[in-house]
């Protein structure tokens, strides 16, 4: 043995193994363990799925009561046939895990503030945000309540959980999903709590807009003063076409919320007197839920369709991600047969149809989250002033594990209102040093999972009403249609009976006078069944006109124009077919621009414009008002409109140390139409000149032209190139995402596709004897970036095409030519 060369060689070998087996820090991210990652037998190569994989399998699971057959169709949609309901949910859990394990794990980690555990201290601020908001607290309430009071749901979630875990237990290390290998961590067993955490995250996604908006509106009001504020953020929406048609008569309210006597002086006109503590370390909050988290849904009665049978349409608009939030599935047991989009992480179908009834949801947008300002006795935060005395808090401990670092412990003061989210230990620029407790309906135990369980089995209108009566948060507009010909829509959730402007801003929390005075009884929530006009619809607009006896919340929460567009089309349509409905769901008509373009043109003195601006205005006036993929007119319109807005209220909003909420487009449009000498049009920074709309439109067009010329140079004037719609992988890694999709649409458009947001599941159900259904989502059934089924629907989705959904009995499905594979689940 040659000792020295041996030692030298051994050390080098060990050194190379060590380096290749370590995550290296590259800029802000960490590399995978390169040797492991590249190993063809263990690393990412194992996730490179053979393109024509045979998915046939036979699985033995002792947890099952009976055998279960799963057939996968050519789009990899499973059709589950089970003899027992619980077995079906076991298999659903197994399949969710088989195809979407990493995503399920990741989403619940976000919801429960456990990202730092895998990604390090970098993600600590996101974790602290969700912990302090009470996400884990809320999920615990739901879990305890279901375990104590709801044996059927407990059994359902338990069966789902053991299905996920049955997959996990047989998963070999080399077959871990790709992202685990990339980020170097391992999955852990599923628990029922993770299901509730996931549903909690949906509550956050759909009602959490207020987490940021209430702070921003408060700061905006403080900056502008209430008088100016109420002009720019008016609650009047002149052109509103509500979900429940105007003129509907509402019953007398059972709760009449009383506005506190000092509200005008201490609440609305309040100027924040809080000292801005510059020493405070600010945390960055996660990006607030998109204001456009919304959706369209509608149902047309047989009187308006060619077949004489109802057609129901639903397209929830959410962040567009890969792997998709949705996973298609058919579940057939002796009690029901249901098809639709499910959430990996939760049992049952969320939006879909069964053999009697179809249902869909849009977000209600009602405000169910408020801030109350606290006064702590001292820096221990053990006591706070409430109703004339010092009251003790209880302290809730949340331990955040941090990769490569010590644990971080959040001690959250729990108050009468809820968790004290912002205090001396946690501030962001918008919270401005205040101590704020959060009161949120999502903190209360929810039986939401049962709503879907019941909807999956609903046979008629009464079943539907019963199912949704259990629903509390996030408030939704549930649309339904039955084979027997009924259509209906109801706005359902736990909604606070509010006095006008209650909770739009941070409220005083030192006594109970600003507390919620009740939850509106379910029977008083807006509902309409079989209206004469032959359709029901919703698109996140306000549910009712002002004759409804309760305050719905600040108008800025409610998009106006999509609803107008949907109703405008539906009113004129007749002899409707599913193909007509496909055209409507993907319709790109810009109803806002239909009014806004002539309103702008009225103030435009073309002869005074520069040559380039004239050319742009020419482009605008020839535009066909459709947000089509290749349209330049819409890009010109958007840039000009934004510039005019900036010219009109940029001066009022200038000079704030933090970003303020931008007023909604309808505010300016309504004023342009009124032809008034609106005082806001004046640029308050020019002392010796009073500007009017003509000046501001001219300025807006010239400013816009500069931007447009730049875009023209970059060849980005065409709408889809400008908008650059993308479907992002949850890690935001571009290589795993689909970028720059050729698709039209946008804000205010029925096809509500913006940059990274839009129709996340398009569904059309024709309630004929044999149900005829179409649908797709911008993703694919497999969550594996190495699978051809990872993004297989994306191109079709962008093109506005649909798949005919296979919803068949077992006998018929087996014979169908689109049925490709068979997975047998056998009880031991």
């Amino acid at each position: 043995m040659r000792l020295l060369p041996f030692l030298a060689s051994a050390i080098v070998t060990i050194g190379v193994v060590f380096v290749l087996n370590t995550q290296l820090t590259i800029g802000p991210t960490k590399s995978p363990k390169l040797g492991y990652f590249l190993s063809p037998q263990q690393g990412f190569w194992k996730n490179a799925e053979i393109v024509n994989t045979n998915f046939d399998a036979s699985i033995v699971a002792g947890e099952l009561k009976g055998n279960v057959d799963v057939y996968l169709d050519d789009r990899l949609v499973p059709h589950i046939y089970a003899d027992h309901d619980e077995d079906a949910y076991f298999v659903q859990g197994y399949l969710h895990a088989k195809y979407r394990l990493w995503q399920m794990d990741f989403q619940t980690r976000v919801a429960s503030g456990r990202l730092s555990e895998i990604a390090g201290a970098d993600k600590l601020s996101i974790d602290r945000f969700f912990r302090r908001l009470g996400m884990v607290y809320g999920a615990e309430q739901t879990e305890a309540n279901i375990n104590a009071t709801n044996p059927v749901m407990k059994a359902t979630v338990d069966a789902y959980t053991s299905g996920v875990n049955a997959y996990l237990k047989q998963l070999a290390p080399e077959d871990l999903p790709f992202e685990y290998k990339l980020m170097n961590y391992e999955p852990e067993l599923w628990t029922p709590k993770k299901t509730y955490l996931f549903l909690m995250f949906m509550s956050y996604d759909l009602t959490g807009h207020s987490v940021a908006a209430d702070l921003q509106l408060t700061n905006t009001r403080d900056f502008l003063g209430y008088d100016l504020f109420s002009k720019l953020y008016t609650n009047n929406q002149d052109s509103l076409d509500p979900i429940i048609p105007k003129g509907t008569v509402y019953q007398k309210p059972s709760i009449i919320p009383i506005k506190p006597v000092n509200a005008d002086s201490t609440y609305l006109l309040h100027k924040s007197g809080v000292a801005y503590n510059l020493q405070t370390k600010f945390e960055t909050s996660p990006e607030a839920p998109n204001k456009n988290n919304g959706s369209n849904n509608w149902a047309v009665a047989g009187s308006k369709t060619k077949s004489g049978r109802p057609i129901l349409c639903s397209d929830p608009h959410l962040g567009l991600n890969l792997p998709s939030l949705w996973y298609e599935v058919q579940i057939t047991t002796p009690t029901h047969s249901t098809y639709g989009a499910s959430f990996p992480g939760s049992p049952a179908v969320i939006i879909g149809f069964n053999d009697s009834l179809a249902w869909g949801v849009t977000n209600a947008g009602r405000d169910v989250l408020d801030y109350y300002e606290l006064k702590f006795k001292d820096s221990t935060e053990n006591e706070y002033w409430f109703n004339g005395e010092w009251k003790s808090v209880t302290k809730r401990k949340e331990v955040i594990k941090v990769k490569d670092s010590a644990d971080v412990v959040e001690e959250i003061a729990m108050t009468h209102w809820g968790p004290a989210m912002y205090d001396a230990h946690y501030q962001n620029p918008q919270s401005k040093g205040r101590n704020l407790a959060v009161k949120w309906t999502a903190h209360n135990a929810s039986a939401g999972v049962e709503t879907f369980y019941q909807l999956n089995r609903a046979k008629n209108y009464d079943d539907y009403l019963h199912a949704i009566s259990l629903w509390t948060c996030p408030g939704q507009n549930f649309v339904m249609a039955t084979k027997s010909g009924d259509i209906a829509i109801k706005q359902q959730g736990s909604f606070v009976a509010r006095w006008e402007r209650q909770g739009d801003f941070i409220m005083p929390g030192q006594d109970s006078s600003y507390d919620w005075q009740g939850i509106i009884p379910n029977e008083e929530n807006p509902i309409i069944k079989n209206p004469i006009r032959g359709f029901v619809s919703s698109a996140n607009q306000k549910a009712t006109d002002i004759t409804y006896p309760y305050y719905l919340g600040t108008a800025t929460s409610f998009p106006l124009y999509r609803g107008i567009s949907v109703n405008k089309h539906l009113i004129t349509m007749s002899q409707i077919t599913p193909q007509d409905m496909q055209a409507l769901q993907t319709n790109n008509y810009n109803v806002f621009a239909e009014t806004a373009r002539p309103a702008l043109m009225r103030y435009l003195q073309t002869d005074k414009l520069s040559t380039d601006a004239k050319r742009m205005v020419e482009e605008l006036s020839h535009w066909n008002l459709f947000n089509e993929e290749g349209s330049k007119g819409i890009t010109v319109f958007k840039i000009i409109w934004d510039s005019v807005e900036q010219a009109v209220w940029g001066d009022e909003l200038a000079g704030s140390d933090i970003p303020l909420t931008k007023p909604d487009a309808y505010v300016l449009l309504d004023q342009l139409l009124k032809d008034s000498n609106w005082s806001i049009a004046d640029d308050i920074r020019t002392k010796n000149k009073i500007e009017n709309f003509k000046d501001q439109v001219a300025l807006g067009v010239e400013n816009a032209t500069k931007k447009l010329l730049e875009l023209e140079k970059e060849n980005k004037l065409e709408w889809s190139l400008f908008k650059a719609t993308r479907v992002m992988h949850l890690t935001k890694i571009p290589a795993l995402s689909r970028m720059n999709l050729p698709i039209g649409g946008g804000v205010n458009i029925i096809n509500a596709t913006t940059e990274n947001h839009g129709p996340s599941w398009r569904m059309i159900v024709h309630l004929t004897d044999e149900i005829e259904a179409y649908g797709l989502y911008p993703g694919g059934q497999s969550g594996n970036p190495g699978s051809p089924y990872y993004d297989s629907f994306v191109n079709y989705w962008a093109a506005g095409k649909y798949y005919h959904l296979l919803f068949l009995s077992k006998e018929k499905l087996i014979k169908n030519e689109r049925t490709k594979w068979h997975i047998q689940f056998k009880t031991a």
């Binding site: 040659r2 041996f6 070998t13 190379v16 193994v17 063809p40 190569w45 393109v51 571009p734």
Partner: protein
């Protein structure tokens, strides 16, 4: 003959220990080392055969997988790493990483028992 035996043996054993995901990915370092002891070579030759055995094994497996996968995943990974999205570069890198370590392992083994 010895050349072929040692390359084949290295590759075969490396493949065998690679099947078990519970063993570390670098288990072939140990098998290469053992082969270098059992089938003694000159140091340089040992390195070369170790290099070739794992390089061919990893490269070959990667090529086979990538063909079956129509380059779907390799193209994505080659964008992340970053290799400008070239699946060929990624296969070369994979092969080289395995080869380098395989060579070093065999070299180390060759010093234990020299003629």
């Amino acid at each position: 003959m010895k050349i072929i035996i040692s390359i084949l043996l290295c590759a075969l054993l490396a493949y065998a220990v690679g099947i078990y995901g519970n063993l570390p990915w670098w288990s072939f370092v140990v098998t290469n080392l053992i082969v270098a002891i059992v089938v003694p070579q000159k140091s340089f030759h040992s390195f070369l055969f170790g290099f070739l055995s794992i390089g061919l094994l990893w490269g070959g497996l990667a090529i086979a997988i990538d063909q079956g996968n129509h380059h779907i995943l390799a193209t994505k990974v080659a964008t992340i790493l970053p290799l400008k999205g070239s699946y060929i570069s990624l296969i070369v890198l994979t092969s080289f990483v395995g080869a380098l370590l395989g060579g070093l392992a065999s070299l180390t083994g060759s010093f234990i028992k020299m003629k």
